[in-house]
């Protein structure tokens, strides 16, 4: 199979790679700058009319509960703030391809989306609760953490039962099986794509180390937030594929975030409440896609 192929080969030969509009990538990069300008964010969104329309629809969703209608994307940036609008641009850009099924991971329609969005909401919650990372950046990192799966899926089609059998036989996590079989795992493929897109470094790190945050040296809080958000999402069964929950959780990440493990149940409850609140955003997403 792909054993002799490099990561670069896989990315080059995969015809259905995930893509994010260049205008949305420019918005991410701008919003991440210390001297970020709201006006520039609005200008980048304006470069892509379809993106601007979808962002506007999301800004007017029940989630924000605004008393009056936002009429254009410039107003959305002023009213909601550029970091919120950055997240809306990411949601609008990723939703159309994240709702597709990923056969290689046995993910049905919308399941990749459900898991990615759950991790975004979870990472944002942990960043807010701990104050260790920017909650909106954590949201974007959570949303993108599994993009490598979109590229790898086609190479794993029909191999999942054998991979899970190997995991059980050799007592391995699923990403260890990916590495054994391919030489790399979905997190590395995702980080490669994120670098190709020139995403900010903390996002690349969060994607690369989301299953192994202890390997990120020096530690990066956003990585730990995404790791914990992923744990919450898997535990609540949001968008589980054939790889299920066959991953390791780092208790060291919890210590770095100064989270008391005794608080787990409260965080789970807060996470589900936050996710359900965010579902108001989805009410308009199908039209927006």
């Amino acid at each position: 199979m792909a054993g002799t192929l490099t990561l670069e080969d896989i990315v080059r030969k995969t015809t259905d790679l995930p893509s994010i509009p260049s205008a949305a990538l420019a918005v991410i990069r701008e919003a991440d700058r210390p001297d970020a300008s709201a006006q520039k964010v609005a200008e980048y969104i304006a470069q892509d009319q379809s993106l601007a329309a979808r962002v506007l629809r999301l800004a007017n969703s029940a989630y924000f509960g605004l008393s009056r209608k936002i009429l254009d994307h410039r107003e959305a940036v002023v009213v909601l703030g550029m970091r919120s609008v950055r997240n809306l641009a990411m949601v609008a850009s990723t939703y159309p391809w994240m709702i597709r099924p990923l056969k290689g991971y046995n993910l049905g329609p919308k399941q990749m989306w459900t898991h990615s969005f759950g991790t975004a909401v979870g990472a944002q919650l942990i960043a807010k609760e701990t104050g260790k990372a920017d909650p909106d950046a954590a949201f974007t990192a959570g949303l993108l953490h599994n993009i490598g799966k979109v590229a790898l899926s086609i190479w794993l089609e029909n191999k999942l039962p054998a991979m899970m059998a190997m995991a059980v036989r050799d007592d391995l996590t699923f990403d260890q099986v990916e590495r054994k079989l391919l030489g790399f795992d979905h997190a590395e493929v995702g980080a490669y794509l994120a670098e190709e897109w020139n995403l900010p470094e903390p996002l690349v790190l969060a994607i690369r180390y989301h299953h192994h945050p202890d390997e990120c040296v020096p530690p990066e809080p956003i990585v730990d937030c995404v790791h914990f958000g992923d744990y919450l999402t898997m535990s609540m069964g949001f968008g589980l594929g054939g790889d299920g929950l066959r991953y390791e959780f780092s208790t060291k990440a919890l210590h770095r975030l100064a989270i008391d493990p005794e608080a787990t149940d409260r965080l789970v409850a807060a996470f589900v409440a936050s996710y359900e609140e965010y579902e108001k955003l989805f009410q308009d997403l199908d039209q927006a896609a």
Partner: protein
């Protein structure tokens, strides 16, 4: 005739006179508990999310917690004529991440704690459990065909399998 499907979402309780197909989709660490009174022909299901309600917070949805969800399921079934002494149950779910690295899991092992908490309720309430499929690292879907009594469980990678029959046949 195709049975009416009753989706039992997270933290929800559904009860009905026998007939509908109860479905708990995407159980990760959560537990689905199906219950049936063969005399009153009353069926129900709860989708439990966490082991115990918080002492300092009002319970918004009783089905969310094992210690409130299981008793509430029985109460709702009793309103339709079920009697606790006759109720038979089956449970599935309670998966969790593969391992917790080098440190102690503390309360991170929600799947195991959920399974233990639901089991404790089943025992405390004197219910007879006919089938149990808990633990592991796979998400599950649990169905309860209250017409036939059949409980089925499937994971993403495995075929659907019959767990037990709450009608005892």
């Amino acid at each position: 005739m195709v049975a009416t499907q009753l989706l039992v979402g997270m933290a929800e309780i559904q009860v009905a006179k026998e007939g509908p197909l109860f479905v708990c989709l995407g159980l990760g660490s959560c537990i689905g508990l199906a219950a049936y009174d063969p005399v009153a022909k009353v069926a129900g299901m709860v989708h439990v999310m966490l082991p115990a309600a918080f002492a300092d917070k009002p319970v918004d949805k009783p089905g969310k917690f094992a210690d409130t969800g299981v008793p509430h399921l029985l109460e709702q079934m009793a309103r339709l004529g079920a009697s606790r002494s006759r109720i038979l149950v089956a449970m599935a779910g309670g998966a969790q991440v593969f391992n917790f690295g080098s440190g102690s899991a503390g309360k991170l092992d929600i799947g195991r704690r959920n399974a233990d908490a639901v089991e404790a309720q089943v025992q405390a309430l004197g219910l007879r459990c006919l089938g149990k499929d808990v633990g592991g690292n796979q998400g599950r879907t649990m169905t309860f065909d209250s017409g036939s009594g059949l409980i089925k469980v499937r994971t993403v990678t495995s075929m659907e399998r019959a767990l037990c029959n709450l009608k005892g046949s």
